[in-house]
Symmetry: C2
Subunit: 384 residues, 2 copies
Amino acid sequence: MNDSPYSISDAHRIEASQLDVPPRLLLGPGPSNAHPRVLQALSMRQVGHLDPAFIELMNEVQELLRYAWQTDNQLTIPVSGTGSAAMEASLANTVEPGDAVLIGVNGYFGNRLADMAGRYGADVRCINKPWGQVFDLDELRAAMIEHRPAVLALVHAETSTGARQPLEGVGDLCREFDCLLLIDTVTSLGGVPLLLDEWQVDVAYSGSQKCLSCPPGLAPLTLGPRAVKKLQNRKNKVANWYLDMTLVSKYWGSERTYHHTAPINMNYGFREALRLVAEEGLEARWARHQATAELFWDGLAEMGLSCHVERQYRLPSLTTVAIPEGVDGKAVAGRLLREYNIEIAAGLGELGGKVWRVGLMGFNSRRENVVVLLGALGEVLGRG
Amino acid sequence: MNDSPYSISDAHRIEASQLDVPPRLLLGPGPSNAHPRVLQALSMRQVGHLDPAFIELMNEVQELLRYAWQTDNQLTIPVSGTGSAAMEASLANTVEPGDAVLIGVNGYFGNRLADMAGRYGADVRCINKPWGQVFDLDELRAAMIEHRPAVLALVHAETSTGARQPLEGVGDLCREFDCLLLIDTVTSLGGVPLLLDEWQVDVAYSGSQKCLSCPPGLAPLTLGPRAVKKLQNRKNKVANWYLDMTLVSKYWGSERTYHHTAPINMNYGFREALRLVAEEGLEARWARHQATAELFWDGLAEMGLSCHVERQYRLPSLTTVAIPEGVDGKAVAGRLLREYNIEIAAGLGELGGKVWRVGLMGFNSRRENVVVLLGALGEVLGRG
């Protein structure tokens, strides 16, 4: 090779072994384990992103996503990124510089919404609650009167706290104040009752890797007619090219104009995940998540452990378990991972050191997973 | 189910069949067919995005990416999106509002860079060339004197034209003018000679789905020390949360602070793709791409077809073939797809209707693919 015109360095040419990873049971806040059929779909050979076969698949993905979210919204697509990309897209497209955006902050992801909204020039107003609590309709009304926002952003399923924000009546409130309702459904879509159109939600986003049991890499986004109208009447270009729905919707809409290259194989997997939702049916799926969670909560109670969130606001998909006095929560999670291959997560922010976060999502929402987790936790805590 | 508290609509609950797609040979501008080992890696079971096993994998991906790009840059990562996301990240992080950004526009992706840079408040200056031609050092110097940019952006491998922009000497020029050099290597990384550090490139991005033969869904990005310094000294927050490298680099750096959930399985596939690059070696890989392309060019000449780009600036990974007078280029591409399962692409923009775009990238850069394409093209054109 001495006749090469190039001087190539082998400094970073490491010898990496064949891919292998431990057989983890992912019972943290996500990703959850993908369904085996989803993993299988991922490895299907590729077609091009403008191939007639792929365009048909895009239509199916959009229809199945509308079913999962219970919406007729035309603009319903998987964003080519992870959940945070769809979160950012939801704001980038509906917020214009100077818009007042009211954000309910009762956990980590409310803060993230505030950070993102600020980067798009929003006049950010936050209402706060201790992590694990939710906002009631009177509190929201009072805040609407005070702030008169263009957008109200709430987290339906707070992955950092395990709290479910009730949304009944909030859509009416937003219409009364001529305000868009934007909600985070990252940890609810496909596992927790969610009726976008009935609740008059204007904008919602989610992730593929929670209750849908697809690996991370796609992020559902939907915009209803009021949000689309605002998007179409913007004074300024969306300040984010990759997530600009005026462009992206031309690829996912009838024009099929090239914007970016869609993640082909991730869409294969995502279609399979949504197909599983349609096969099972939303009602059965929601009931399964609830039943599995209740089994877990009962088991915790029997072990003398308590949940951080009041029962009526508790998410079936994500439970925050109070760490008992004197127990090193991080050490327990570490032992579960190393000795039992079970992943659960530590608390974030206000709940750091105070709770474990346990996800029973999608494919992982099964009785046997509750049994193994409670058994392992009992052994580690000496409460078996 | 009549006792359900929810009224669930089945309007969008379509019955989708088991996933199946035609066995396409993807010889367009990308995606190329993924290597079978990459497809296999995609379907490996998941671990969490903060699992020690995944963190080790992240280190390997970064090292192997440094090898492929021939750079020591610490900040070398796959962005969790497709090529356009990394393109946007390259600008979002290095451009501050008001910065003059000089862009060489000699194809579709130069225009895209200009559109994106404008959204981040850049004072965009373009130099233009007919599509398929490249800029010489004197032209670049004259433009630098005129515009005094903070960033010079060039497309190393123009996917829309098949032209390779020479970069020898451009790094010195940028240092002389205290300007960052940003280059698009979407269609060159892993297939075309590319020596980032030797050429003193400050910022580069690419895609997973071209010469690396991984499905689309990840997008390599690298920032050298001068770019990182500018990033650290920014007056304003990066106006894009998802692509903010001050945050993302804390996840990919030693802190491993959670930012967003990395696309686990896509990273499995990407690691395998980069492992294949390291196994083959860059020199052999570049030589293979060149040899396969030359075989194709010779075959085209024998059929009386000509290439749009002058030989010395022709990319081995992407060839623009001039559509002969009187031939309906779109109809030919349609027949290749329907009758032979071969995808090639039409021209874009200035080259719309004038050329076909043929990619021989990564795993697809093989003699047998040249044989089948030339044979099928000959049959369709009646020149067999």
